[in-house]
Symmetry: D2
Subunit: 354 residues, 4 copies
């Protein structure tokens, strides 16, 4: 099913950008988790728009209303459902998208798939707004994982080709990246910010890469072949709009290396088996090896740009120019960082429960 | 489940490298497909080892025996099961792997997960040999897709950092890459071959990138969010041993672009809606847009290398050097090309049946 | 997952009896279905309590609020989510159930499974109230099926051992049973009503059997073995609280027959292949044969009765008497009839979409 | 998928009655189970035909060949695949079934579903012969469950309306029913046998009911709603050919009772919470309560009978008489008993692993 994910922990995401509400159901979350609503709200705030010059000026409270699954402050074993009401909508901006699809968006493919019945306003169910429910679910999972000593942290690895410093995945670094513009190297962050603003002033947009680590995982999680850690992570990460690439450990970088360098030597460290390097991203044969799980996701530039673009009129079967209206992020990468963390947390918790 | 894939077309892969047999069951394949066994065997031959100096010298016939699901030469609607007997095994080569895991292999993670009961010989269920059953299944799917005008073709995009020419995904190019060493640029192919042989003579190995295209797909295939084309392709491609990265269209390349360049403009072409470029790899919002589906998979260098490596003795909890015995491919990329094609075909057929 | 059902049409049910809301998400419903809200509300009214002396006197509006998935009156291809707010709750009635479980209810098993964190009020997620979301989903499916000439109808086959007349599954009979107390034989219905009232006045309850038919189905729906029509129907019908038995066609009655009588002879009828009888309930080998699909579900007596019962104190590990408070249906069979119809519709539509 | 079952333990059944082989893959079985092949063979022998006058005179060795998943006598964590070669086939007996379908069989529905490409010989994939692979899988699960103190036992509750004595599910009774004609009451067994022979001599067949118990289960297994114990058991039991009804505890009998009698009072027994009766079959709210799990399955009479039956010629669209050739069981109930045990074991083990 398109908007459901997971085997033992099952996420269902629902809503359209301009429907009465968006939301999520998380089925299978164990009973007894004390839910820290303030921490959850702080996590969601990292994804919310309107915080700085890099994102859309739309203001969205993004405060979830929990309808069920939490009783007296603890998960009760029943499915948890939370919704966010959509309030600040401007449907008029999207009137013509059914006929003249925006390049880089799902307008055209939705038109084909749903025969014109899709909710085109704001991208409908394809909107980046649907990542808010993913963050609600992921925020709960992060709290559950924390109880087991498992942490999830992500940073902006690059924006517009400008790279952050390496992420060493220690607790201080993970603490450091839990912020609005999650980079480790302040100067690089400023350069990224400038690149975003330049693109914005040019009516354009930029993309980037997000790097995520999960630490504290036991060895032995995952399965061979089609149920490996990579497959599970990919199954949710490619569900985040604009993600077009995913690599584990050194990923594509491994393709140009020799085995003598890419292989991670086993060592003993404080009586534990570890690897001297972690080029494989903590996964061998689809199964965790006790080192941090590391992956990187490529995020394409925001397709909604202010400049005139080539498109077609579907009704007239003719080419036509298009000016996309509305308020859009010139770069969604910063706001996508907590979404990637949420996705990782959901996938990892699902595997642990398996 | 670890070794099953698919929703409407369900693949089950079974076997270990040195068990009596390996094989696969393909459940859900529609009745009435005439099976061209010669074409299937030719497809399997592209994956089989021992063909040239780039691969292991083990000889494996890899001739499947079909146990059921085919009646009078046609699929009959029942699950199709085929097996390949393992004959040329040398179990003695792997005796010490339970205690001293090979770097880059699943020996250690299997030991943790299966508590010492894993079949360590030849990598057991984690062996690259298990890609033969994937090719049996994929070979059948390719025949089914061909009836609908859908073609699958892949080439070696790079080995050891040496790149092939761009793949334009026309029928002649797809015809051209259906061979043992599938490159378009002969000179680049020779350079790749030399890089492989150099690594081999150094007791080392190299990796590469495989690029795959599926042409003839209708627009509208796939789903939003977690059931998109990317998620489905990823779910099977990350099941192929040694794949550590996956990107669609320009993938990671998109992360450094601006939206005005990365967006694919819509155009009219012979009365059909098309895009002028195909940076998105034929997928918008998880749904095909009628352009060729394009993806690239990063393959790490063969972890089995002849040089001495650092490892540990699990029983003695001490570091220990390891020399991996056995015959191994200095580069598995050429043999992995048909596996990638098979995986793509299985995923696409599953989506079409959905 | 516990509260999700379906393969191609995926239902997620959420909520607890006394949580802020209950609801459902239906993912995979095709775009373009015009939703008749009045017809849906009328269908839900058949399940709503407080209509007559046979059910609890609690009044519940059971008016769903649709949060998403419907745009301009049509399904838009995105998941449909609807919720019902819980307003008329009396949590105080259930304070002691965590320690002293009600016989016949899930209080004890929930206590074991959720370690005391379950929401015990009103039965929590196990409450019969959760059948309202099933009816929302089923009501939508019934409308979709009606467009294809497929009808779903159920009647009370028996209550307290008193049987209705045979259900011939013609359109007039299906029309006739779409009512609050769905019997065909008025006299039998009166006798059933008396049996319910007698039980009620004795502080007791009664059970019954519901018979359901689906007409207009094409032959060829379903699959062999574990994905047959029976399996699919069972997967959802056993999710309805209090259902403890399920049979297709003559079901258990077949076990005492001879094959020469139980086999349904094939005949030609108006140029179509039909069977002279329909002892198999329209299913052969898990696949529909073009005759009406028929099944019967056994519903146990309402476990909440007013008389004193034997139970235990879990904290004191001692036997203890229990008086169940609250308002309860002396017989839930009439209200369960539309739930069975809803379940059948969901299962059948899922199979058609498969 | 039609021939796959399970979530955490996944069974795939393949083969047709007259294909080269039938078999099964069991994916997800934990590593380290010592497989007692003699015990497994003895279990399979209970299902094998040709043992007495009640079953077909075909002789089938039904000795599985294990292809993988077992290493040095222990499960190794990889999928277990076993096959049984089909040797004693008489395809000629079934030549006309494609045109003139046997009443009570899947010939007609298979013809519709597979468009004439189905393997009609011996019922193809719909054959009762496919229960042999279920028994291989179930036999392994029974051995795994036994290690945890969980036992599975079933007896013939009735044949042709003649009932066995009540099954008290103690170890001696479970021991007693592990035999070729599993009844507790010898006289009833003789009467059943006579009923079978009478039907046989009349060219007819009889059905029956099988009752199964699983003892030693912990409380807390299963889930609410659609993932309850009943749903899981139903999902596999309705995959056994000829099963047309299923009930838990008193099942349909509950429908005529009052709540004061049907409710199982909680009691303390040796410091444990138990119920005084077990009318609910050990399941409350879809979750086990620590009492034996009890269910009964209705088995229809063998549809293959020797007497002339009414059928149709599909090609001529005309009614036609049919004499079914071949050797058939006049009653499959005795041979279905181990199949029901196998199904119960698979379902229960899958739930325990969940």
């Amino acid at each position: 099913m398109s908007s459901m994910y997971g085997e033992n922990l099952r996420l269902s995401v629902f809503g359209q950008s301009h429907a009465p509400a968006i939301g999520m159901t998380l089925d299978g979350i164990p009973a007894g988790l004390p839910v820290d609503m303030a921490a959850l709200q702080a996590f969601l705030a990292r994804r919310a728009p309107g915080q700085n010059g890099f994102s859309t000026t739309r203001k969205e409270a993004d405060t979830p209303e929990f309808l069920c699954g939490i009783s007296d402050g603890f998960t009760c074993g029943a499915p948890v459902t939370a919704i966010i009401r959509n309030t600040n909508t401007r449907s008029g901006d999207y009137d013509n998208l059914r006929d003249c699809p925006r390049p880089g968006h799902a307008d055209y493919t939705a038109q084909i798939k749903y025969g014109g019945y899709q909710d085109a306003a704001g991208g409908g169910h394809f909107s980046g707004r649907l990542t808010a429910p993913i963050c609600i679910a992921g925020g709960l999972c992060i709290q559950w994982l924390a109880q087991k000593g498992i942490r999830v942290g992500a940073h902006i690895a690059s924006i517009a080709g400008i790279s952050d410093m390496p992420f060493d995945m220690t607790d201080p670094q993970i603490d450091a990246v839990g912020k609005e513009f999650p980079v480790l190297d302040t100067e690089a962050g400023e350069a990224m910010g400038n690149a975003i603003l330049e693109a914005k002033s040019a009516g354009d947009s930029v993309g980037g890469v997000i790097e995520c680590a999960v630490t504290g995982l036991p060895a032995g999680l995952g399965n061979p072949m089609f149920d490996g850690v990579e497959n599970r992570i990919a199954g949710i990460v490619f569900g985040i709009p604009a993600v077009k690439g995913l690599e584990f450990g050194l990923g594509f970088g491994l393709s140009a290396m020799r085995g003598s360098l890419s292989n991670d030597p086993f060592i003993m460290s404080n009586g534990e088996v570890r690897t001297a390097t972690n080029n494989c991203g903590g996964i061998l044969g689809g199964i965790t090896d006790g080192m941090p799980l590391i992956f990187r996701a490529a995020v394409k530039p925001t397709p909604s740009i202010a400049t005139c673009q080539r498109s077609v009129s579907l009704s007239q079967k003719a080419e036509q120019e298009l000016i996309v209206k509305g308020r859009h992020d010139p770069c969604i990468v910063p706001r996508a960082v907590p979404v990637i963390e949420a996705a990782a947390a959901i996938a990892v918790m699902d595997m642990i429960l398996g």
